[in-house]
C-alpha cells in the first residue's frame, strides 16, 4: 500500500480499507482530473457537438439504472426506454407549475413506482418472464401515450425553461447549460450507485442474481430484492427521461420505443454489465456508431457513383444502421462478453504491471 507503483496484489488489511470507494490516492486524482476535463470540455466544442455529448451522458444515466436491474440483479429489462418516457412525460406535465429541480426527481419517483408494479411478477418467476413483463409494459406505454389526448397523442409537448437564477437560457447557451446540469446529476447518480451497490443492498442483488434460492436460504428475500432492483433501475431511467425532456425542449413518444430500449440494453452490454466505466463507455460507443453510420449513409445517398452501382430498390443507407448495430451486439457477446470495461481493465493492469506482462 505504501508504494502504489509496486503494488502487485490486494494489501487491504481491514474492513475499513476494504470498503473505501477509492483504492488509493491515484484513483482519487484520476477521477478529479476526469471531472475537471469534463467540466472544461464544452469550451472546445460547438453547440452541435455538445448536443451529442448531452445525449451520451443522459443515456449513461439510463444505462446506470439498467445496470442495476440487468447487470446487478440479472433481470433483463427491455423497457428502460418506457421508464425514461414515464419520467419525461411526468416532467412535461409538471414543468409549467414546478421548478426543474423538483420535476426531475418527481419523474424519477413516478418511474420507480411504475417499475415496482411492472416488477411484481418477479415475486414468482425468473429471467425470461421478467423480460417479457418489461416488454409488455414497453408496448402498453407507447400505445397509451400515442392515444391519450392529455399527452398530445404522442406528438411533441413543449417543455420550456427560459431562465435559471437570472441566467437567460436561449438558443446559444441551451446545450451548454444542460450539459452542466446533466453532468452534475450524472456525478450524483454515479456516487449514489457506487455507495448503494457496495453496501448491503448491492450484495443482496448480486446474491440474488447468482442464485436466488441460495439467497433465499441465507435470509434475503429474493422477491423484495428484485422489486427493489426494478424500482431503482426505473428511477434512474425516469431521471434520464426528465433530463432528456428539458434538453430537447419537448417530449415525443418516438424517443421511448422498443428500439430505444434495445439500444440501451446494447449500450449496457457493450460497455460491460454492472460497471460504472462501462455505463459511460457503452453509450459513447453506440452513440458514435449511430452518428457515423448516419453520416456514412448521408454520404452514400449524395454520392453519385454509389447510387449508380446499387440496384434499384436496394436501400443500402437505411440498412447500415441496423446491420452495424446488430453486428456490434453479436460480436461483443461472442468475443468480448465483458464489454469495453474489460479492455479498460486490461489497459489499466498493463500500465500498472509494466514492464511485466501480468
Amino acid at each position: 500500500m505504501r508504494n502504489p507503483w509496486a503494488q502487485t496484489g490486494n494489501y487491504r488489511t481491514s474492513y475499513v480499507q476494504d470498503t473505501t470507494i477509492f483504492a488509493n490516492y491515484r484513483e482519487i486524482v484520476s477521477v478529479v482530473l476526469l471531472l475537471v476535463a469534463l467540466c472544461i470540455l464544452p469550451m472546445f466544442l460547438e453547440r452541435s457537438q455538445v448536443l451529442v455529448l448531452n445525449f451520451i451522458l443522459i443515456y449513461a444515466i439510463a444505462v446506470l439504472g439498467l445496470n442495476i436491474t440487468t447487470g446487478y440483479a440479472g433481470l433483463i429489462s427491455v423497457g428502460q426506454a418506457a421508464f425514461m418516457g414515464v419520467g419525461a412525460y411526468t416532467v412535461a406535465l409538471s414543468a409549467p407549475n414546478l421548478p426543474f429541480w423538483l420535476t426531475i426527481p418527481l419523474g424519477g419517483l413516478t418511474a420507480a413506482v411504475i417499475g415496482f408494479v411492472v416488477g411484481i411478477p418477479s415475486l414468482r418467476v425468473k429471467h425470461l418472464y421478467l423480460a417479457l413483463a418489461t416488454l409488455a409494459f414497453q408496448e402498453i406505454f407507447v400505445w397509451v401515450v400515442g392515444r391519450s389526448p392529455a399527452l398530445a397523442q404522442g406528438a411533441a409537448i413543449p417543455v420550456e425553461m427560459r431562465n435559471f437564477l437570472g441566467l437567460e437560457i436561449g438558443f446559444r447557451n441551451h446545450n451548454f447549460f444542460w450539459y452542466y446540469v446533466i453532468l452534475f446529476v450524472l456525478v450524483l447518480m454515479v456516487m449514489a450507485w457506487r455507495n448503494l451497490l457496495r453496501g448491503k443492498y448491492g450484495r443482496a442483488l448480486i446474491a440474488v442474481r447468482d442464485n436466488d434460492r441460495a439467497a433465499d436460504a441465507m435470509g434475503m428475500d429474493p422477491g423484495r430484492t428484485k422489486l427493489f432492483a426494478f424500482a431503482l433501475g426505473a428511477f434512474y431511467g425516469g431521471i434520464a427521461g426528465g433530463l432528456l425532456a428539458y434538453m430537447q425542449r419537448a417530449v415525443v413518444v418516438e424517443e421511448f420505443t422498443l428500439g430505444r430500449s434495445v439500444a440501451l440494453l446494447a449500450m449496457a452490454i457493450v460497455g460491460g454489465l454492472g460497471t460504472v466505466v462501462g455505463s459511460l463507455l457503452g453509450p459513447a460507443f453506440i452513440e458514435f456508431l449511430r452518428l457515423y453510420m448516419e453520416r456514412l449513409s448521408e454520404w452514400m445517398k449524395s454520392n453519385a457513383f454509389i447510387q449508380s452501382i446499387t440496384p434499384a430498390g436496394v436501400d443500402v443507407a437505411s440498412a447500415l444502421l441496423p446491420l452495424s448495430f446488430g453486428l456490434v451486439i453479436v460480436l461483443f457477446l461472442v468475443f468480448e462478453p465483458r464489454g469495453l470495461y474489460n479492455w479498460w481493465r486490461l489497459l489499466r493492469s498493463y500500465f500498472r504491471t509494466w514492464p511485466f506482462k501480468y
Partner: protein, 302 residues
C-alpha cells in the same frame, strides 16, 4: 349473435397464424431454453423468399412456399450453428441479447433487398370470395390459415409421438443430462429445433402474405405478438402455443369489435385496442398465473 360468430371465426384465423409462429418459438425454448427475439425476422424472411420464388423465379405458388419453408429452416439451422452454439453455457441474458442482435442484423439484410420498404402481394392462387354458411362468410385465405395450422398440428403430433428424432427432442426437453447419457445428440436436437422453428415461421409468414399482403414491419410485428400467445399457453407447451395463439387472435378480433368504443369513452382516441390487449393479457398473466395455462411450473433446488 351472427356478428359474434363472424368475429370469432376471423379471430381464429388470425390466431392460427400466431399459433404457427408460436410453435417454433416454443420448440426452441423447450429444447434449449433460448428465447428467440428474431422470430419476427424469420417470419418476414420466409414470406419474402416465397414471394421471390413465386414472382421472380415463377415457380408455382405452392412449390415456392414449400421451397421457402425449407430454405428458412436452413437459415434457422445456420443461425444455431454459427451463433447459438457458441453461447451454450453463457448467462441467459447474453443468449437473449444475441437473438436481439441477430434480429437487427436480419433487419439490415432485408433492407439490402427490395423488400425493405413497400408492400407486396402474392400472385392470386386462391379463388376469389369464400364459403358462405347461413350468413357467415369465411374467406379462402382464412380457410388456408386454419387448414395450414391443422396440417402442421397433425404432422407435429405424428413427429413427436412416432419418429425417433421427435422422441429424442422430447427426451432432451425433459432431461438433457439423462438423454445425453442415453446417446441422444443434444447438439443435433438444438439445431433441429431451430430448423423447425424456421420452417413454422416461414409457414406463418406465407399465410400472412396470402391473407393480408407482405410488409416488413407488419411481418416483424407478428414476432412480437407471439410473446403474449406463448405466455398465455405456457412457454414450454406445444399445445399451449396453439391454444394461446388462437385465444390471442380471438381476443384481438373481439377487442376491435367491442372494446374500441369503450376505450374512446375513457378518453383514448384512435382505437386500435387490438394492438395493446395482447400485452395487457401478457402482463396480467405474469402477475397471476406466470406459467400459463399448460406450462410446467419449475421446481428448483439449491
Amino acid at each position: 349473435m351472427i356478428d359474434f360468430i363472424q368475429n370469432l371465426i376471423s379471430g381464429v384465423a388470425v390466431g392460427c397464424i400466431y399459433a404457427l409462429a408460436a410453435l417454433g418459438f416454443v420448440l426452441i425454448y423447450k429444447s434449449s431454453r433460448v428465447i428467440n427475439f428474431a422470430n419476427g425476422q424469420f417470419i418476414a424472411i420466409g414470406a419474402f423468399m416465397a414471394y421471390a420464388l413465386a414472382v421472380w423465379v415463377k415457380l408455382p405458388v405452392l412449390l415456392a412456399a414449400l421451397v421457402a419453408m425449407l430454405l428458412t429452416a436452413g437459415l434457422g439451422f445456420l443461425v444455431e450453428r454459427v451463433f447459438l452454439r457458441r453461447m451454450v453455457g453463457q448467462p441467459i441474458i447474453s443468449v437473449i441479447m444475441v437473438t436481439i442482435g441477430l434480429a437487427s442484423v436480419l433487419d439490415g439484410l432485408m433492407y439490402l433487398t427490395p423488400f425493405g420498404s413497400g408492400n407486396f402481394t402474392f400472385p392470386q392462387f386462391l379463388p376469389q370470395g369464400g364459403l358462405n354458411l347461413g350468413g357467415l362468410s369465411i374467406s379462402y385465405p382464412q380457410l388456408l390459415a386454419i387448414g395450414f395450422t391443422a396440417i402442421f398440428l397433425v404432422l407435429f403430433s405424428w413427429f413427436f409421438q412416432r419418429s425417433v428424432l421427435g422422441i429424442s427432442m422430447r427426451a432432451v426437453a425433459d432431461d438433457q443430462m439423462a438423454s445425453m447419457s442415453l446417446g441422444v445428440s443434444v447438439q443435433r436436437v438444438f439445431a433441429l429445433a431451430w430448423a423447425v422453428a424456421g420452417l413454422t415461421a416461414a409457414a406463418a409468414g406465407i399465410v400472412v402474405g396470402a391473407v393480408s399482403g407482405l410488409n416488413q414491419d407488419g411481418l416483424i410485428a407478428i414476432g412480437l405478438a407471439v410473446f403474449p400467445a406463448v405466455i398465455l399457453g405456457g412457454l414450454d407447451s406445444v399445445p399451449g402455443a396453439v391454444v394461446g395463439g388462437i385465444i390471442i387472435g380471438v381476443l384481438q378480433s373481439f377487442s376491435t369489435a367491442y372494446l374500441d368504443g369503450l376505450f374512446s369513452q375513457i378518453g383514448l382516441v384512435g382505437g386500435g385496442s387490438q394492438y395493446v390487449m395482447p400485452f395487457v393479457v401478457l402482463l396480467v398473466m405474469l402477475w397471476f398465473k406466470p406459467h400459463g395455462l399448460f406450462g410446467t411450473e419449475e421446481i428448483e433446488r439449491v
